[in-house]
Every structure is written in structure tokens, then in C-alpha cells.
């Protein structure tokens, strides 16, 4: 009973209702603008809401979180610049749709599926939080390492025509991720004596350069071609479309919740894994992947919004952040006089149900705001390229700068933009590069932790893997993905 009334607080209080709405609305735009991130917005809000009571402050932050994760997909679809890392996978099939004049439909699917994923994440948070967090705690360094390896294998799905070029791009991405001061031993890696390089290469700078700038440069090839007219008569997907993708979106929501709940992995990895899952399990997509497959939109969008609910699971049950945004929210709870930790759910169950309520509300507002204003957004792509492209380049520069207020990041972004341009022209896909950057730290840190824990002995590590059920499942998945294509070849040859 108490739970229900706490859950309803944000719905019944007009001020809280308004704050969740305002937060969600602002979040969509923050998410959509490259370089402005939810993490940044929430940390600014800490100072801004300093003197407020805790409920309104959280209501605003939760709205921004939910809206922001969704908003990243907007620019990914319209301009091929993901507004946030979690939207990278969305652009892979969303942008080809926009090129064909189907941006409205793409945004419509994205919105409904984000709502669906968000809802699954919230339901799991509400009914199974303690269970999921106990499960997440079981992940040992070797399991995170295997998870990263699983992620790296996605290169296969992202490589396009040439697998070998995809492998090169993936390894290059991993390398970019290792640049800077090694956080574990403070050894210099690829810093070439420059102290500015010690902080590493900002991942967002790489992303904006590789996607935004390189795409803008490619578009300049036919700068005077008229922009594609966008059809905007069909925005909300039909009921049959939604039910058709229901099984896929449920599975991808599951991926999202678990990956989101694991401390150290978040919506970006969840979205890419879900994309890969969709590509492997969809036998005959109506449109091929990479050219506007609807499944390629459904999967990452359900997963990254489900990861929001997932990220709150360890935060609420254990006081452990599930991702960067929940890390700041934990700080905010401290500032507002609460003590996040395992006792919070027991001492202050109201807080838990309030957060579940605010998330639910934010999810509903996301659906409403997401489905309105699409016409205006879509018009952006119809701007003549000769005007749009300079503005995109400028936005990319500002976005790269905004992350750390660092000019070095701008130089990196431009450098990667030009490199990405040539890579694109010569048939290298850029998806694997970003994948490598995202997974580099996860793989590096956990490989080293795992091997150190096992006294630098590979046989001991292997023994640990085969004797732990969780590790064994992950390991089998790795083997399966590696060996399945070989097996298929063998059987095909036999059949022939």
C-alpha cells in the first residue's frame, strides 16, 4: 500500500509532474545534440537543484535521463551523427532510411520501441531488482572479459562487405581506447611525450569525427543535389508492425536490462549487442541490414532504453552505479542527505517506489514528446546541403569541444573525421572502430584483473572459466559465435 502511494507521488503532484515532463523534453534535445550528454546535464543539475527538496530534484534528473537516452537516436537517424554513444547502432539502419525519405517512419518506430524497452526496464526494476543485482554482482573480472570478447565478435556483423577490413577497423578502435595513462599502472601508452595525451582520446571526439565529419565530407561529393523529400504521412507504426517485432523487442529488452544493470557496462554496449542479436536471429529481413532494416532500429532502441531501468537496479539495491548517469545521481542523493547503499531500500522504500513512479511517468512523456514535433525535425534534413553541412561541421566541433572543454579533442575529432572519410571511400566500415573504442577498456582492464587474480597463469584462468557456470555460459557463447560460421561451411560443403 505504501509502495503504491509512493509510486503515485509523481503522478499526483502537479509540480513533480511538470518537472518530469520538462526534464524529459529537455532530455530529448540534450540527447540529440552531439557533445551534450545526459551525464553533463545531470551534473549541472546537481548545482542547480542544490537547494531543492530531493523529490523535485530527482524528478527532473530522471526525466532528463529517460529523454536523453532516447534523444540520441534523432540525430543518428537524420544526420548520421549519433547524439550519444548508445545511439550508434540506431544510425546503422536509421540513417539509410532517412536517405530514402523514410525518416518519419524511422523516428516513429524508434519512439515506440524506446517506450517499450523503457517499460520493460522499469518493470524488471520494480519486481526483480534485488534478484538482478545479486546476479550482476556474480560477474567476476573473467566474466567481464568474456563479455567484452563477445562484444568484439560483433565486428563480424558490422564489417559490411570486407571482413578483413572490419577486423582492421576493430583492432584500430581497441588501440585508440588504450591511448593515454594506463589507469591501473599509470604507465604511459602511446602518449609520445605529450602530457595532453595522457587523458586519452575522448571517445565522443572519435565518435563525432568518424560519424559526423566523415559523413559530412562524403555528402559534399554531390553538394548541389537536392535533398531527399521526406514522407511524413506515416509516423506511428501500425499495430501489426509492433506485434511483428514483439518477440525481438522483448529479447532485446532483456539484453538491455542485464547489460544496463552490470556495473561497468551501459546502454551503448547493450544497443550494439542487441543490434548484433537482431542481425543474427533475423533470417529474412524485408530490407537488408545496413540499408534500412526495421529490425536494426527496433533492437538497439529497445535495448538502450531498457538499460535505463537496468542501471537503476544496482543503484537502488546496493548503492552501486549501473552507469555514468546513475553515478552522479548517487552523488545527488548524498548531497540531499540520503545514504545510498544496500540499506536504502530497507530504510527508505518510498524513495525506491518514487523513482519507479518517476521513471514510468518519464517513459510516458517520452512517447508523447517523441511522437510530436517529428515534422519539424524531419524538415532539418530537407535544408539544402550547402547550408546544412557547414552547420553540421560546426556542431561537431562544438560537440567535441564541450565534452572536456579541450581543444585537443577538437583536433582529434577533425583528424578522425578526415581519416574516417578516407576509410569510408576505400570500403572500411567505421562501426567496428567505435565498437573497439567502447570495449577497449572493458577488455583491457578485465583481462588484466582476471590474469592477475589467477597468478599470471593461463591454465588457471581457463580452469576458473570452466568451473564457474556463468563463465562457462559466456565462454560457450563466444565459441559458438566463432565456430558457427565454420560449421555452416563444413555442412554446406558436405551437402554440395
Amino acid at each position: 500500500m505504501q509502495a503504491v502511494s509512493a509510486f503515485l507521488i509523481p503522478f499526483l503532484d502537479i509540480q513533480l509532474l511538470g518537472l518530469v515532463a520538462a526534464g524529459t523534453f529537455a532530455g530529448i534535445y540534450i540527447g540529440a545534440i552531439p557533445g551534450l550528454s545526459v551525464t553533463m546535464a545531470v551534473s549541472i543539475l546537481i548545482s542547480f537543484t542544490f537547494a531543492w527538496p530531493v523529490y523535485p530534484a530527482l524528478a527532473l534528473m530522471i526525466g532528463i535521463f529517460m529523454g536523453g537516452v532516447y534523444g540520441g537516436s534523432r540525430t543518428a537517424i537524420l544526420l548520421n551523427i549519433p547524439g550519444a554513444p548508445a545511439a550508434i547502432a540506431t544510425g546503422l539502419d536509421g540513417y539509410p532510411m532517412a536517405k530514402k525519405g523514410e525518416a518519419g517512419e524511422a523516428i516513429g518506430i524508434t519512439t515506440v520501441m524506446s517506450f517499450f524497452g523503457g517499460a520493460v526496464g522499469i518493470i524488471v526494476l520494480a519486481v526483480a531488482a534485488p534478484m538482478v543485482s545479486e546476479f550482476a554482482l556474480k560477474f567476476q573480472p573473467r566474466d567481464y572479459m568474456l563479455l567484452a570478447v563477445l562484444g568484439i565478435l560483433l565486428v563480424g556483423s558490422l564489417s559490411g562487405e570486407s571482413l578483413i577490413k572490419g577486423i582492421f577497423a576493430g583492432a584500430f578502435g581497441i588501440l585508440i581506447g588504450t591511448v593515454g595513462l594506463d589507469p591501473l599502472t599509470i604507465a604511459d601508452r602511446f602518449t609520445f611525450g605529450f602530457s595532453e595525451l595522457r587523458g586519452g582520446i575522448s571517445f565522443v571526439a572519435v565518435m563525432i569525427g568518424m560519424f559526423g565529419i566523415s559523413e559530412a565530407l562524403v555528402q559534399l561529393h554531390d553538394v548541389n543535389k537536392a535533398a531527399v523529400r521526406q514522407q511524413i504521412n506515416r509516423i506511428v507504426p501500425s499495430w501489426s508492425t509492433i506485434t511483428k517485432y514483439l518477440p525481438l523487442s522483448l529479447r532485446c529488452s532483456g539484453i538491455g536490462v542485464i547489460i544496463g544493470a552490470l556495473p561497468g557496462t551501459g546502454g551503448d554496449i547493450a544497443a550494439l549487442m542487441a543490434y548484433d542479436h537482431a542481425k543474427r536471429t533475423t533470417k529474412n529481413p524485408e530490407v537488408p541490414f545496413g540499408e534500412g532494416a526495421r529490425e536494426g532500429l527496433v533492437a538497439p532502441e529497445t535495448a538502450n532504453n531498457a538499460a535505463v531501468g537496468g542501471a537503476f537496479i544496482p543503484m537502488m539495491t546496493l548503492g552501486i552505479p549501473g552507469d555514468a548517469v546513475t553515478a552522479i545521481m548517487i552523488g545527488a542523493l548524498f548531497i540531499h542527505g540520503l545514504n545510498p547503499g544496500p540499506m536504502l531500500m530497507i530504510d527508505k522504500p518510498d524513495m525506491f517506489w518514487f523513482i519507479v513512479g518517476a521513471l514510468t511517468l518519464a517513459n510516458v512523456f517520452m512517447l508523447i514528446f517523441g511522437l510530436t514535433g517529428i515534422r519539424f525535425f524531419v524538415k532539418v534534413v530537407e535544408t539544402p546541403r550547402s547550408v546544412l553541412i557547414p552547420v553540421i561541421i560546426l556542431l561537431s566541433i562544438v560537440g567535441a569541444y564541450a565534452v572536456k572543454s579541450s581543444l585537443v579533442d577538437v583536433y582529434w575529432m577533425l583528424g578522425f573525421g578526415v581519416l574516417g572519410y578516407f576509410m569510408k571511400l576505400y570500403g572500411f566500415q567505421l562501426g567496428p572502430v567505435i565498437l573497439g573504442v567502447i570495449l577497449s577498456r572493458l577488455l583491457d582492464d578485465n583481462w588484466r584483473r582476471a590474469i592477475i587474480s589467477d597468478q599470471e597463469s593461463l591454465p588457471m584462468l581457463l580452469k576458473g572459466i570452466v568451473t564457474s557456470p556463468l563463465s562457462l555460459v559466456l565462454f560457450s557463447a563466444v565459441l559458438f559465435i566463432l565456430l558457427a560460421p565454420l560449421w555452416r561451411k563444413v555442412t554446406a560443403r558436405r551437402a554440395a
Binding site: V387, V391, L395, I397, F422, Y426
Partner: protein, 170 residues
């Protein structure tokens, strides 16, 4: 889509560059910690650069063997004039941002690039660029407190002055 069996102009040069860069980076990665331990900070960089070098060599072999596409030229298909202009403008932007500051550099960048690419009237270029820069400035600098390089415009003083003008002091 393009066949993997043909070579575009400049492709061999680019892949050659990637191969050399991979080799250089592999040597650099070895320099981090050598073969000290499986857990050394150099382990993953060495693995990554080794994979890069191997795959680059395979790509190089494929590329050299492939027949060149005779119908394409560098001038038209790889570096058309518009791309070169944009790259030059971007480079100029990177150099001017610090000394001139965000507002002026961005305005010049947009105005010049839009003018060159679209050939529209000077008036259009000026007002659309100014509006864009102002909008970006308001969102990033004022709402999100991202401190862009000030350069020669004393922004913080102007903002403080505007604040006093509107707020009338406290």
C-alpha cells in the same frame, strides 16, 4: 555497391599508409612493457597492433592484386573541390579558434563555407551564420556553461555587464 575486387584511385597508397602506421604502432606498443607479463599494460596494445598489422598486410595484398578502376580520378571521386574546400576551412578553424575565440571563428567559418558551397547572396550567408552561431552559443555557453575559447571577445565581462543591465544588481 562497390565490388571488393577493384581498386579505387589512391587506395593502394592509403592502405600502404595504414600498414606502415600499424607497424610503427606495434613497435611503440612493444616499447610500453615488452613481454614483461601477461597482465602488463602493453599486452592489449600489442595484440591490437599485431592484428592491425596482419590484417593491413592482407588488405594490401588484396588491393594491389585488384584491377584499378579506370573511370575514376582523384580529382573527381576522392577529393572533389568541395571536400578540399571544407578540409581547408576546418583546418583554418582549428588554428584560429584559440586566438580569435569561438564567436568570431565560427561566424567566419560558416559564412565563408556557406558562401563558397551554395553561392547564395552575401546577405543570406551573413545573417544565417550569425543566427546559427548565436543559437549554438546560447545553448552551449549559457545554458550548459561550456566555456568556449574566448579569444579576443571579452565574453565573461560582456555577460556580467548584460547581467547587471537586466538584473539591476542585488
Amino acid at each position: 555497391m562497390r565490388e571488393g575486387q577493384t581498386r579505387r584511385p589512391g587506395e593502394a597508397l592509403f592502405v600502404g599508409f595504414l600498414t606502415l602506421a600499424s607497424l610503427g604502432l606495434l613497435i611503440k606498443a612493444y616499447g610500453i612493457a615488452g613481454f614483461e607479463a601477461l597482465s602488463s599494460p602493453g599486452a592489449l596494445p600489442m595484440a591490437a597492433t599485431a592484428v592491425m598489422l596482419l590484417s593491413a598486410l592482407i588488405i594490401l595484398r588484396q588491393t594491389i592484386k585488384a584491377p584499378a578502376i579506370r573511370t575514376e580520378t582523384i580529382r573527381e571521386h576522392i577529393l572533389p573541390a568541395a571536400v578540399v574546400v571544407a578540409m581547408v576551412a576546418i583546418t583554418a578553424y582549428a588554428f584560429l579558434l584559440e586566438p580569435l575565440g569561438f564567436l568570431i571563428t565560427s561566424f567566419l567559418f560558416l559564412a565563408v563555407l556557406i558562401r563558397v558551397l551554395s553561392g547564395r547572396s552575401l546577405f543570406f550567408c551573413v545573417w544565417s551564420s550569425a543566427a546559427c552561431v548565436l543559437l549554438i552559443y546560447v545553448v552551449f555557453r549559457i545554458v550548459f556553461s561550456v566555456l568556449m575559447p574566448e579569444g579576443i571577445v571579452p565574453e565573461r565581462e560582456i555577460l556580467a555587464w548584460l547581467g547587471r543591465l537586466f538584473g539591476g544588481g542585488r
